[in-house]
Symmetry: C2
Subunit: 317 residues, 2 copies
């Protein structure tokens, strides 16, 4: 699989941003450790999702280009697919719930994608997407259950290890497990001694329970502020990667997530969405012991002003 | 004076951060120009002010170290002096109004400085600081009216020109004119063809009026959200630099400032304080025509959550 990550790097070169790695001396002093933040909030579309989306969509050839792509997502994956398709002049259809935030609808439409709304109380988004696929012949680009998506997401960790050698631990937020899988594969290939810990909100702990029980567990519409981790469950693909390559899984509280977003705002002047702050939340709250050289994948920065205010209001920095 | 900036660079080396230069492809497309953001919001204490403060305080020798330093400021300069003094183990006294925000008082005290509060309705802060100076023999570190402060602030522009050659225009926010003076001197030395434009809020336009009239003008407690520019007036020193080295001065509205802060938040995932957004405000509003390669000094990122929310609420991005 690591070869696929290396191939993804080639495809992403010059298209995706090589995101910066940032540090905070105040944090390092507080934790007596060295923390390196891989800032995917500075990636195109404001999140790592562009890596996987572009890796898959850049490989679409011939008539499949004309048929276009279809995806279901109300979040960053929607924008990743919409932008990738736009860059390749491929038509894109995004299936979004009719209660999705206006800002997210607008962002996707700004990239020129067609939005199909569905009623989440009566329809299943996968069914809606499959119906479109059957009708148009479009290529379905799933948010995480695809080797090309996993490979694309793994490119961020490659850049991190290249820039920061000798990391002892890398922490990754976990929703459906695409970023976790790619990061774990990349890390075990280029820095085999480095441990990998996946972090989930306590309220959306399906992957943690899956990890401990050895069987895929689910969470239905979990009530967490970290919207990027509200996925119902991992897939067989990402669960398999987790079992093989991930060293541990831990949870953090909603308060810890808010505190971490507040720290990014106040001390580091970074806008980080709640899902992107899970690793820092684990360190600040003590859910994971800080020690040595630690890499954190800051997965994204897409958060609206109102939500950001609510979080900062709760944060204790 | 450029020699003093080069000497300041030596003193700052390894102490101040070499801040990153960032870009936004979305902005460049919108403006049909190339904009480079020198991110002093990532500087120590969250603003460029550390450069000037450290440059002056690092030169204090012998018994003067024991006597300590004194400064008056309710903003970033206070933190810059407090941190610089702490790093040299010099006692620092900061004169702050008794209505200063708690967060700012706390930040200064966290750096170990002694805070002396005064009543801004009955006392003049310069008098309070001078009384302390007379009593203790402490060195007064003024916020901008000092060649060492100007030289320190000019180091940011040196780094910018080194990293981004052939800039045609550099824009700088203007409060008391320390950053504007240092940037203008540095720019005319290393990139003589590059134009310099200083930007002020329309509501705090003393420097613009000074520039046009050739005589120092004042603004009393201007009602602008850009708190870093509320300085009453320039000094003879900074006014002189402006007259000699600055090509033009322009103003921006409060709305344009909010829009620019909102753009930084939503599109660039950067926390920028209103004063730091003046250059982008000028470009987005058309107050300054965007053309070619433009450098903007993003002066700082110290803004509290409530103010940030108020700004985002008003912003149209």
């Amino acid at each position: 699989v690591f070869q696929e990550i290396e191939a993804a790097r080639e495809r992403l070169h010059g298209v995706a941003h090589r995101t910066p790695v940032m540090r905070s001396s105040a944090l390092n002093r507080r934790l007596s450790a060295e923390v390196f933040f891989k800032c995917e909030n500075f990636q195109r579309i404001g999140a790592f999702k562009f890596r996987g989306g572009w890796n898959v969509i850049s490989q679409i050839k011939g008539d499949d280009r004309i048929a276009g792509v279809v995806a279901y997502s109300s979040g960053n994956h929607a924008q990743a697919v919409a932008l990738s398709a736009k860059l390749r002049r491929i038509p894109a259809t995004i299936v979004m719930p009719n209660n999705a935030p206006k800002a997210k609808l607008a962002a996707v439409e700004e990239y020129g994608a067609k939005v199909i709304r569905y009623d989440p109380t009566t329809e299943v988004r996968e069914d809606v997407a499959q119906a479109i696929q059957a009708e148009t012949g479009a290529t379905l680009v799933p948010p995480f259950d695809h080797p090309g998506i996993v490979a694309g997401q793994g490119t961020s960790a490659c850049e991190l290890h290249e820039e920061v050698p000798d990391l002892g631990l890398v922490m990754v937020p976990c929703g459906g497990g695409g970023l976790l899988s790619g990061t774990a594969v990349a890390t075990k290939s280029v820095a085999p001694k480095c441990r990998i810990i996946g972090i989930e909100p306590e309220r959306a702990d399906d992957a943690v329970r899956s990890f401990r029980s050895g069987v895929i567990q689910t969470c239905d519409n979990p009530d967490t502020i970290a919207d990027g981790t509200r996925t119902k469950s991992m897939s067989d693909l990402t669960f398999g990667f987790m079992q093989e390559y991930v060293d541990d899984m831990q949870t953090v509280t909603e308060q810890a997530i808010c505190d971490a977003v507040g720290f990014f705002f106040q001390r580091m002047k970074l806008v980080v969405e709640p899902s992107g702050a899970l690793g820092l939340a684990a360190l600040l709250s003590g859910a994971v012991k800080a020690e040595g050289r630690i890499g954190l994948i800051v997965s994204g920065g897409n958060v609206d002003g109102e939500t950001f205010h609510t979080i900062l209001d709760r944060a204790q920095v």
